[in-house]
Amino acid sequence: MSTAIQDPQTVERPNYLNAEYGWKSWLLTTDHKRIAILYLISITLMFFVGGIFAVLIRLELLTPQGDLVNSDTYNKFFSMHGIVMVFFFLVPSIPATLGNFLVPMMIGAKDLAFPRINLLSWYIYIVGAVFTLAAVVLGGVDTGWTFYTPFSSSYSNTFVITAASGVFVAGFSSILTGLNFIVTIHKMRAPGMTWGRLPLFVWANYATALIQVLGTPVVAITLALVGLERAFRIGIFDPAIGGDPILFQHMFWFYSHPAVYIMILPGMGVISELVTCFSRKSVFGYSFIAGSSIGIAIIGFLVWGHHMFVTGMSMYASLYFSLLSFLVAVPSAIKVFNWTATMFRGSIVYDTPMLYAFGFIGLFTIGGLTGLFLATLAVDVHVTDTYFVVAHFHYVMVGGMVMAYMGGLHFWWPKISGRLYPEGWAKFAALLVFAGFNLTFFPQFILGYLGQPRRYHAYAPEFQVLNVMSTAGASILGLGYLIPLIYFLWSMRHGPKATSNPWGAKGLEWETTSPPPTFNFDKTPIVTEEAYAYSHKQEVEVG
């Protein structure tokens, strides 16, 4: 044991990490914090599985000939990358880890409303992940993450049912997490924790939970229908025998478009926390940020048709969906403007989490604005199924959500582990991630606009320079994700001990010890002030 951590005056307080030992105490736990750790480990594994496929995709695209693998294998690469990353990393990422850990603590509760259901949701996730990984090991899936019919239901010769079962099962994990959050936030708030005082992270998770609960069942039933069709050849989605493949897309995107907001709203919640804390200022426009989360959750169900402009959907439906898609920009812009206004004249501290927050705001803005290009009917016809779309959603998903996830992980790591990570390395990694990300995906906007289609393993030689840039950027990005993995693991043993509030942040989670005791608080806290009351106390004691 290193000597630096042996602080003589603190005999290890009882906390959720040392309350019990042994694998049973983890696998049978009902403590939301331990379940968050279980999720953290699982989704990190899935992130690297998805990452391996990303590496293979970028390696193949290094040269225009398509020489590393054949097109069938390449189809499996991008499909598995998408399925693993979307359903097993992005959807559970912030809600199931940071949300699980923090939501009860932020509202002053001892646990989520249904701790055993919370554990169940993790096991369901694992079953889903096992199905999906089985599909990978058996030989993969080549339908793309969207499982479009009739290819998936009638023609693909890969393990579609296995992979779709994995997604189907994992959906229930997501539903149960959402259900738990909704009930917890409604019923478990500490005295004084009114809706107007809820941290914005909790608001964001509430909005996310609504989408999870309302949208996920529809995709589950859709995938069940694909499975039925595949097994029994009934003709539900196969136009050759009377089915309508576009109906699949309607049903799929009824969930999967709102699911895009499952993947970004919790990230926005994290950024709201980071921006106020590191600007040392109360958040600007609290109620607008909170309301815009709910707004996004609702409008998110009204825009799915913009994925289907070129499918032969009715032109009038396209008009409607295009118009409403522009509307999503309003609540998103409200958030970005309010974060900017929060920083204005704040005493900004450039710590690692804030670097990620800066990254998020910039990259999400680019991702969001290019979304408006895609919502425009005529432009969409030009760029559909090109790298422009790929770049757009990676700017939102990776540049947005993963940035926020990393920022949040750094911000709350002292609370989760009770240890501090090395700030220098963390800043370095954050800069690597930002630089690597832009180098990877900005060229793809240009590629797409010039006409390189997505999902092909070979491309015209004149696109090679930009593709090489993209692959180079991906290598830097990969390194940027590996470094935090290493220093987080290192810090659990060797990092300096964290005080209960190392950032001088506001919020109930910082009022308990690091790491928190099993039931979060020694005494149920009573809330007497608004959220983010930074201006009450200008001088901040940083521990």
């Binding site: 309302l214 529809v218 309607h250 009204l302 799915w304 048709g305 959907m313 009715s314 032109m315 439906a317």
Partner: protein
């Protein structure tokens, strides 16, 4: 908690539901063209409201429960409405005149 409805109320609701089942069956035999489905769904909706308000006792529940009970149907209408936004208007654009 809330006041407990009497057995009489429950039986009255049950009787109404049973009569409505018979009504919807009888009405379905009359040819009313497009109105058959409207009537059938209208009666079903009314029956549903009776079950929700009395058997599930939402009448006496908090506004929150009412909100959640209503939200499901709101979202169902979003789903169906936007499906039919496409399917109902597909034939409107005459073929060949699009470009």
């Amino acid at each position: 908690m809330h006041e407990i409805p009497s057995v009489k109320t429950y039986v009255a609701i049950w009787a109404t539901l049973t009569i409505l089942t018979f009504v919807t069956y009888s009405v379905a035999k009359i040819d009313m063209g497009g109105f058959n489905i409207v009537v059938a769904m209208g009666i079903a909706f009314f029956k549903m409201m009776l079950v929700i308000l009395f058997f599930m006792n939402v009448k006496a529940e908090s506004p929150l429960t009412k909100l959640f009970a209503g939200a499901g149907f709101f979202w169902l209408i979003l789903l169906l409405g936007q499906f039919f936004l496409d399917y109902a208007t597909r034939g409107w654009m005459p073929e060949g005149k699009m470009w």
